[in-house]
């Protein structure tokens, strides 16, 4: 048994897992507020990463300007998506809404390939030092940044929902749309806002992944990994999403360790989350923290 490798992989898992957690959090945000299952979450990461990349490489904008510009862009982009594609679907059956987001993911994915090409592009380096020494482990600086940014985003989200007026309005809407509306909350704005915030947060996560791995259409896999994470945590629980993301990230890397050391199947880490997903659907379909559907007739 190779303890050094195991620890290294678990650290990786934690870093990747927090990123999954962030993306899952923004997925749940949309689901809770608007009851839309967003299959295009991964593409929001992709668009954000490409926009930031284009600003930095094509227009030579320094990172500390490029990042806010990307965030503003994605904020508006999220609102636009909600207004153009999702607003006409309000009141339609859930499968139509799901299909719109699936189609949206196809369109965004193909457009990005069309505009930026199919080849992965390296992200310009942001840090001068490659790695830091932490308790005897060599950890890449980008990983530290990834962890810090993820935790910061989670904290910001927690503050937003707990203490800000808009966050409260969003929680009220998620709780009961009609009651929220009768209390003077504009449900329309809340819907647009939830997409905007979700897109912005996803874009930040996308840029973080891009800094570590480069930009390519493979980024959108994060949007797929959201499903094991959110099912594990419970579809409508933000805390559950974060925890689910971390567990899935750790599990992936643990599967890679088992695979590499003992089984030698190859690629186990890519499908392990989906096996977990099926098992959870079998034994605990509403996840760890999800609210169980109780129907009264």
């Amino acid at each position: 048994m190779n303890a050094q490798l195991l620890i290294q992989l678990l650290v990786n898992g934690l870093v990747v897992g927090t990123l999954y957690g962030v993306v899952a959090m923004s997925f749940v945000l949309i689901y809770k507020a608007t009851q839309v299952v967003n299959f295009a979450q991964g593409e929001l990461l992709l668009v954000g990463a490409w926009v930031c990349w284009a600003l930095m490489v094509k227009y030579q904008v320094p990172f500390y300007f490029a990042m806010p510009i990307t965030m503003v862009f994605m904020f508006i982009f999220g609102i636009l998506i909600q207004m153009v594609f999702l607003r006409p679907m309000i009141g339609e059956p859930i499968i139509s809404v799901i299909m719109v987001t699936i189609a949206l993911s196809t369109v965004l994915q193909a457009s990005m390939k069309w505009i930026f090409g199919v080849n992965p592009q390296p992200f310009p380096p942001i840090f001068t030092s490659q790695s830091v020494n932490f308790l005897g482990l060599q950890i890449q600086t980008v990983y530290v940044m990834s962890l810090v940014v993820s935790l910061a985003m989670m904290a910001a989200m927690a503050w937003f929902f707990r203490s800000s007026k808009h966050g409260l309005a969003m929680r009220a809407t998620a709780f009961d749309q009609q009651v929220a509306q009768s209390l003077g909350i504009s449900v329309k704005n809340v819907f647009a806002m939830s997409w905007a915030i979700s897109a912005t947060v996803s874009a930040v996560a996308g840029v973080v992944v891009a800094v570590v791995n480069g930009v390519s259409s493979g980024l959108s896999i994060y949007g797929i990994k959201v499903f094991p994470a959110t099912i594990l945590g419970g579809l409508d629980s933000i805390g559950g999403a974060v925890l689910g993301g971390i567990i899935i990230g750790l599990l992936e890397n643990f599967a890679q360790f088992i695979d590499g050391e003992y089984l030698h199947w190859g690629n186990l880490y890519e499908v392990a989350p989906f096996y977990v997903l099926i098992i959870i659907l079998m034994i605990k379909p509403y996840g760890l923290f999800g609210t169980k559907d109780i129907e009264r007739v």
């Binding site: 299952v37 859930i94 799901i98 189609a103 193909a110 690629n267 099926i278 659907l281 379909p285």
Partner: protein, 356 residues
């Protein structure tokens, strides 16, 4: 002329009249004549157009299964391509490794695919449609990974071989002969589903879609019918895949990722969810769309639009974008698909000079 027309207003006085497949003698004759006409297609079209027709037939069968699930039961599957591929591999396996004749291997692989589908569908069938969507998404990844791994079954990285279709020792060779096999399967499958939807089980599925609580109160077992519908969907995906295997004679898992599953969804949305003939229209639309785009790009070649968009090099991306945009446009503006448009055209001509 007694039975050849429907009187103005829609008078149906018995249940038999209400559930009949062909409301008039004319419509039945039109259907029979058009099937006979299609039988002449191998003599009228060249190889290329014939291969497109065969593709429409094969994908049409798989899409039909998906339409039973999505259109009639209101569930959604994002792993249809994986089940299609499973049918293809299992028919190839049955025909080459075990030696089952292709004639029996095709329905048999449909049954095997349905069983595999149930493994993924069962946990989700207890819950709402959304959970089935996520479970089938997992099925898509797990099955494709399985195909890449299981060399005994799918050949792993080497494509699997399939025997050509044969019946009583007569081997069907070439597209021209295989066309009739596909045509026979299309007719049988479409008749099967049409009849299923007229039966108690079919009406139960529609009831589950329209209001599952009311359906449950009326004594319909939700889990049973959701599972049944998912099994039917996987069955037809398997049959379509098996036909595909014996058509191509080589099956590889490449190109059957989630994009292909989305393509299947596009077929039924464009054709019309909950319309049996619409499925075929939508499949034809999706299969012919690349041809139309190819043609358009060759017409526009060299022009200003071509230079601005780079049509030739980017045609694959443009096709994907077109599929996505068309799905959205249909969902927003024509949720009932081409079938609905077709009914409107028919209604317009039926009432022609006095439509109001």
């Amino acid at each position: 002329m007694a039975n050849s027309m429907i009187p103005a207003g829609d008078f149906r006085t018995s249940y038999a009249a209400d559930t009949t497949i062909f409301p008039t003698v004319t419509s039945r004759n039109v259907a029979i004549v058009s099937i006979i006409l299609v039988c002449f297609a191998p003599y009228l079209f060249n190889e290329y157009w014939l291969s497109l027709l065969i593709q429409i037939g094969i994908y049409g069968i798989a899409a039909l299964g998906l339409n039973v699930l999505v259109g009639f039961t209101g569930q959604i599957s994002i792993g249809h391509a994986a089940f299609f591929l499973f049918g293809a591999f299992s028919s190839a396996y049955l025909s080459t490794k075990i030696g089952v004749p292709a004639f029996f291997a095709i329905p048999l692989s449909g049954v095997v695919t349905a069983l595999v589908g149930l493994v993924f569908g069962l946990p989700a069938a207890r819950l709402k449609g959304l959970y089935l969507a996520i479970a089938t998404l997992a099925a898509q990844y797990i099955l494709l990974d399985f195909f890449a791994r299981a060399e005994w079954f799918s050949g792993g990285s080497v494509p699997a071989m399939a025997e050509p279709f044969s019946i009583f020792g007569y081997v069907f060779q070439g597209d021209r002969q295989y066309f009739y096999v596909v045509l026979a399967y299309v007719v049988v499958c479409y008749l099967l589903v049409t009849n299923m939807m007229r039966s108690r089980d079919g009406r139960a599925l529609v009831a589950v879609r329209d209001h599952y609580l009311s359906a449950e109160i009326m004594g319909i077992n939700l889990t049973k019918y959701r599972t049944l519908s998912f099994g039917v969907a996987a069955f037809f995906a398997g049959v379509g895949g098996a036909l595909y295997a014996h058509y191509q004679l080589v099956v590889s898992y490449e190109g059957f990722g989630i994009e292909r599953s989305i393509l299947f969804l596009a077929m039924i949305i464009i054709g019309g969810t909950g319309s049996i003939m619409g499925t075929l229209m939508g499949t034809a639309f999706v299969v012919l769309l690349p041809e139309v785009m190819e043609w358009l790009s060759s017409v526009l070649a060299g022009g200003a639009i071509d230079q601005a968009l780079g049509l030739k090099t980017n045609i694959t991306f443009l096709r994907e974008i077109a599929i996505g945009v068309i799905i959205i446009v249909f969902l927003v503006f024509e949720p009932d698909g081409l079938a609905h448009r077709w009914h409107q055209i028919k209604a317009y001509w039926k009432l022609y000079p006095f439509s109001h």
